[in-house]
Subunit: 324 residues, 2 copies
């Protein structure tokens, strides 16, 4: 069993030892730029950790793990065009630093590179690996489409939202874990079960992200509080508040979200006040806990040895931003 | 051996029998719309024909052939955004009918679907099939990047141009033929040779397209003459003319391309006059013939039976717009 630190080091080495720059530079420089931004490299860590847990040789999982990370970064690159985002991880986004055409085509090329890395695997496992990756990639696209639809859709329900984050976020977490299991020749049952664990973990992870955007501390969260509120993003908190608000509270909530005369600080403060009055913070915590508990239940059903179980629990705690 | 007509019918049936529409409709309707536009379905024809020629079961090649066509249509969809093209095959382009974000994400999803179809193959052949497809997809992206670079690059040479059309156009023709050969379990040597045949055919095909844009008859060519001239597109003809023009002719040529006061009909007429004076038409024909002859030489080296050879020659003639 390898420590999380040693797996993270292995991933960092793999990326820092790979040059993505080649001719034509106009195509590959934005790819190098994107992959040099770093990020937590969470998904490849999940691939290697899962492979290790199921007794596989992590060296055989390094390239596919990189493929998942390259795919994830490709989706961020194209999402940033669609969202017209100026910054990513504190750096100017590709479509701003170059232009939208460069971002489209460099993204497409990253997608191919992702497939190339995912394909660097035991040929006997390739059909299963490729099926999983295709299924995941398609679902992530569907999730992004639902997320974009929500911007103009008036009647988004909580189940709609949960489906969206399942597709956009949770399936790639789940895919990473299942990919590691497949590469370790785990049983089909175990591979499917670690996928379900990943779904619940991924849902909790996204809900926690929503929660921290409203109620987190900037120093720990690493980004400004209230970004979702400022942009009227239909998060779990937003949707739950509109579900529960009645009478004057509903009128106030609607006003805060629709009145363009209100400044952002006042709007943020006003909405947070309503969120607290409606106990949206507690309700969201309960929902996070629900998925966390489901993940824990699946984890316990594996009957791993305690070392493995504790390692996975520690990872969950870290992903969900809890004290360890 | 199946007739070209029967292979084309099989491809049409396969597409008309497949519905790409599903939820979320905002994502899948543009895909259905794009694939319903039709087109010549040349690339899947090449897959099936090659599979048939090498003694394979074409039914096992239908899905991968569809994958190649879906990939081709994905590249057109994204290229149309980058070129800001209003029309494709006489229909409004996706980014115009919907918007750029829809075109980006629907395109990404088509790319995944292309991989899904390509992967519907004998698992034993999958590693080779996927390697070929990845290599091709990456090269097509590189070709599109060079093509975009040329718009602002002052010193594009004929070799630069030939590399660009090899990557952007010829490798997918070559990939289609090689894919059919792999699926028929042809020898590695034969698969590689039919790929080289496809490269030469693809180069001749693109040069012929350049030629017809300037010297074709609208009725046969199917699109307006002079589109490349009107848009200052750096085609083989353009680059050859600038390579050969001297003195007053060079000044005239430069003026026609740079003077925004000159109307399109006058510009087209003036440039065609210079092209003829410099014998660009004949020079281009010679270049096309050079690649056509190389393709013929490779074809003859196969020592196919006459029925197969004649069928491939007929296809070449058709692709190169010659009388049969």
């Amino acid at each position: 069993m390898q420590s999380q630190q040693s797996l993270q080091t292995r991933i960092s080495e793999a990326f820092s030892g790979t040059k993505f720059n080649q001719e034509p530079l106009q195509l590959y420089q934005p790819i190098e730029y994107t992959l040099d931004m770093g990020g937590k490299r969470l998904r490849p860590l999940l691939v290697l950790m899962s492979c290790d847990i199921f007794g596989g040789d992590i060296e055989k999982a390094v390239y596919p793990a990189m493929g998942v990370e390259i795919f994830h970064n490709f989706t961020l690159l194209h999402d940033d065009i669609m969202d017209n985002a100026p910054l990513r991880r504190g750096n100017t986004t590709v479509h701003q630093k170059w232009d939208a055409n460069t971002a489209i085509l460099s993204g497409d090329t990253m997608f191919v590179i992702a497939y190339e890395y995912v394909a660097k695997t035991d040929p006997a496992l390739l059909p299963e690996v490729l099926d999983l990756f295709n299924d995941t990639a398609r679902k992530v696209c569907e999730g992004q489409q639902y997320d974009m639809n929500f911007e103009t859709q008036g009647d988004v329900s909580i189940p709609d939202y949960m489906l969206m984050i399942r597709l956009k976020t949770a399936v790639l977490i789940a895919c990473s874990l299942k990919l590691g299991a497949i590469l370790a020749n785990a049983s089909q049952a175990d591979a499917d079960k670690i996928y379900e664990f990943g779904i619940e973990l991924g849902l909790a992870f996204q809900l926690q992200d929503d929660f921290l955007d409203a109620f987190g501390e900037t120093s720990k969260f690493g980004k400004a509080i209230g970004g979702d509120i400022a942009t009227n993003k239909k998060t779990y908190l937003f949707l739950k508040a509109f579900e529960l608000a009645k009478g004057d509270t509903l009128i106030q909530l609607t006003n805060f979200y629709s009145d363009k005369e209100i400044g952002i600080p006042q709007k943020t403060e006003g909405i947070l006040h309503i969120y607290r009055k409606l106990k949206i913070d507690e309700i969201t915590r309960v929902e996070i806990e629900y998925h966390h508990e489901k993940a824990m239940g699946i984890l316990k059903s594996f009957q791993f040895n305690p070392e493995i179980t504790n390692k996975l629990i520690a990872l969950m705690q870290e992903m969900l931003g809890r004290e360890r």
